[in-house]
Symmetry: C2
C-alpha cells in the first residue's frame, strides 16, 4: 500500500511514529506492507518514490536538512504526480470552509485514492458531498480519528453492533471542557482559574474558545449525526451552549443532590445539541478529567458506553491505523 | 445461510426473536438470507428442511403441539442428517466438563459448520482444542456473547483496535455480584439482605453460588485470557475470591475515603484473578447495578473502557447476531 501523509503536526507525527513502530506486526498479522511516498507539512514536503524512511524524518531537527525535502512543495501541486493508493489527511481543522483538508480529500478521491482523515473540517462542511464522491469513484473514506481520538465509535457501530439500530447518542466529546468542569467540581475553583490550570497543563489552547464555547464538540456531533445516523446536518443545526457561564455555585448545588454538571453532546429524535447538563454522579457519562465518553442507545444491546482519551497524537494515530487496516482488508478481499 | 439453533432457553429464544425481527434488515444491509433448519430444546426439536417459521415457534404455548416438533430428538442424533452451514450453540453452561455444549461444538466443526456460541462451558474447558479443530477444518468459531452479554469485547479488539497491543484488562463481569455490592454501598444493607433483593428482582438464581463466589466471572476471565491474550488458561489458573465476606463496615470505610468495593476481574502480567478490590469512586470501573464493564490497557489508544448490560436474552442475541454477520461477510468475500 502506497501512502501519502498530508499534515505533520502532532497527529501526523503520531501516524509516522505508529506506522514505523508497527511495520513488522502489520506485515505478519494483516499481510499489510506499506510505503510512505510523500509527507506534506505546511512548509514543504518529503518525497521519495521508493518510500520514505519514517524514522529518519521523525529524528531530524531541521526538516529542510533532510535529503528528501522539497521546500514549499504543496500536496495540491504534487497530487497528479503522486503514485499512491491511500491518502491520510490530518491538516488543521477549519470548520467554516473545511480547507485545506476539503480540497485535499476531494482531489484524492478524484484521483481514485482511498482516504483516511482525522480532520473534522471537511467532514463538518461537506460530509454527504464527500460520501457521494466516494461512491461514484468507488473509493473508501474513513474518519474514526475525527471524533473521540483513540475511541473507536464508528468502527464500533459498523463492525461490532451491526445488527443493532442506534436510537440515540449522548456523550462528552471535548477533553478540555471536561477537564475544566472536573477541576471546578473537585477543586471548587472558578471557571477562569480552572481554565488557567488547563492552559498551564497544555490541555487548553491560548485561545480556548473552540473548546469552552462548545464548537469543537458540536463539530464532532455533526460528524456523528451524519456518519452514524445518516443525517444531513451542518454546524448551524446544532444547539450550542458553552461552559463559560457555569458557576461554582451551580456545581455545588448539583453536587448536594448527587449530580454533576457535564458538557453533554446529544443526538436524539433528530435534534442535536451540545450544552451543560445535570448528570447523576452514578451515570456512565460521569467520566472525569480529559476523558471522552460516548453512550449509544441501541435496540438489541441496549445502552453501550465507550470511554477513552479523546485526543493525543498516538491515540488518534491508533484510530487512523485501524481505518487503514480495515481498508487494506476490504481491498484485499475485493481484489 | 442454513442455521441450526441448539438451546432454547432465554438466549435461544432471544436469538429466534432477533433473527425474526431483523430478517429484512439483514437481507438489505448485508445480503444475508438465512433459514433455521433445526431448533433443539432439552425435550426435543423442531425440524424443517424448508426452514422453520420462527414466529410460529415463539408464539406457541405447547411446543409439542407444533407441526415440526419431534419429541426427544437430540442434536447429536440429528447432526449427520442436518444440512446447515452454521450452528448456534446456547445450551446451559457447565464449566466442569463443558457438556453438552462441547460435544455439540466439536461435532459441528467436524461436520464443517461454522459455530457461534454464548456457552462458557466448552470455551472454559477446551478453548485451544476447539481453536485447533477450527483451524484444521477451516471453520470459524465465534463467542462474543459468552462474556459481557451484549458488550462487544472480542469484536472490539479484533475489528476496531487492530493495530493495538493489549497489555492488560480489568473489569466487572458478573451483574449479580455487582448489583449486590451496589445495594450494600448505596442502601447500606448486609450481603444477605442485598442477595435477597437480587433474588426477588430476578437478578440472582435460587442458588447464587456461581455468581457470588466468583465462578461465573472467573469463567469469563479465562475466555478473555485465551481469546484476547492468546493464553492457555483453565479455571484452576484463576485466583478466585467471592464477595460473600464483604461487610457493610468495609464498604463504609472505603466510602469515607472515596473508594468503592467492586468485584474486579483482572488479567495482568500473565496472572488472572477475580476478587473484591478497592476502586476510586471516579474510576471508569465504578459502574453500578447489574452493569458490566471491561477496561483494556492498550499501547496506542491507551485505556479503552466499554460498559453495558452483561446478560439478557436479547442483549446476548445481539452479540450472536454480530458474530453471524461477521461470519457471513467473511464467507462471502472468501467465496
Amino acid at each position: 500500500m502506497d501512502i501519502a501523509l498530508v499534515g505533520f503536526g502532532s497527529v501526523g507525527k503520531g501516524v509516522a511514529q505508529v506506522f514505523s513502530k508497527k511495520q513488522n506486526q502489520l506485515r505478519q498479522k494483516y499481510d499489510l506492507s506499506f510505503s510512505f511516498k510523500g509527507i506534506f507539512t505546511s512548509r514543504g514536503a518529503f518525497l521519495d518514490s521508493n518510500g520514505l524512511d519514517l524514522q529518519s524524518i521523525l529524528n531530524i531537527r531541521d526538516l529542510t536538512a533532510h535529503s528528501s525535502w522539497k521546500n514549499d512543495l504543496s500536496f495540491m501541486e504534487s497530487i497528479d504526480d503522486l503514485d499512491v493508493d491511500l491518502v491520510i489527511e490530518v491538516t488543521p481543522t477549519n470548520i467554516d470552509h473545511g480547507e485545506p483538508g476539503k480540497s485535499h480529500i476531494i482531489s484524492s478521491i478524484k484521483k481514485g485514492c482511498d482516504v483516511v482523515t482525522a480532520n473534522k473540517g471537511p467532514l463538518v462542511v461537506a460530509f454527504n458531498e464527500l460520501q457521494r464522491l466516494c461512491r461514484r469513484g468507488r473509493c473508501i473514506l474513513r474518519y474514526e480519528g475525527s471524533v473521540g481520538g483513540g475511541i473507536p465509535v464508528f468502527n464500533l457501530v459498523r463492525e461490532t453492533l451491526q445488527g443493532n439500530t442506534i436510537h440515540s447518542l449522548r456523550g462528552i466529546l471535548n477533553g478540555t471542557s471536561n477537564f475544566i468542569l472536573t477541576q471546578m467540581t473537585y477543586e471548587r475553583t472558578s471557571f477562569e482559574s480552572a481554565l488557567k490550570t488547563a492552559q498551564e497543563l497544555g490541555y487548553a489552547e491560548a485561545d480556548p474558545a473552540a473548546d469552552v464555547e462548545g464548537i469543537d464538540a458540536a463539530s464532532k456531533t455533526v460528524i456523528l449525526a451524519n456518519g452514524l445516523f445518516g443525517m444531513n446536518k451542518g454546524i448551524d443545526d446544532v444547539f450550542i451552549q458553552g461552559i463559560t457561564k457555569v458557576t461554582p455555585e451551580a456545581i455545588e448545588l448539583a453536587k448536594n443532590d448527587n449530580f454533576l454538571i457535564k458538557h453533554i453532546a446529544s443526538i436524539e429524535d433528530g435534534q442535536i445539541e451540545v450544552a451543560p447538563r445535570l448528570i447523576p454522579v452514578t451515570s456512565t457519562l460521569a467520566v472525569n478529567g480529559t476523558l471522552n465518553v460516548i453512550s449509544l442507545q441501541t435496540d438489541l444491546a441496549k445502552e453501550i458506553t465507550i470511554i477513552g482519551r479523546g485526543a493525543g497524537g498516538e491515540e488518534t494515530a491508533s484510530a487512523i491505523l485501524s481505518d487503514v487496516i480495515n481498508i487494506h482488508c476490504a481491498r484485499t478481499t475485493l481484489s
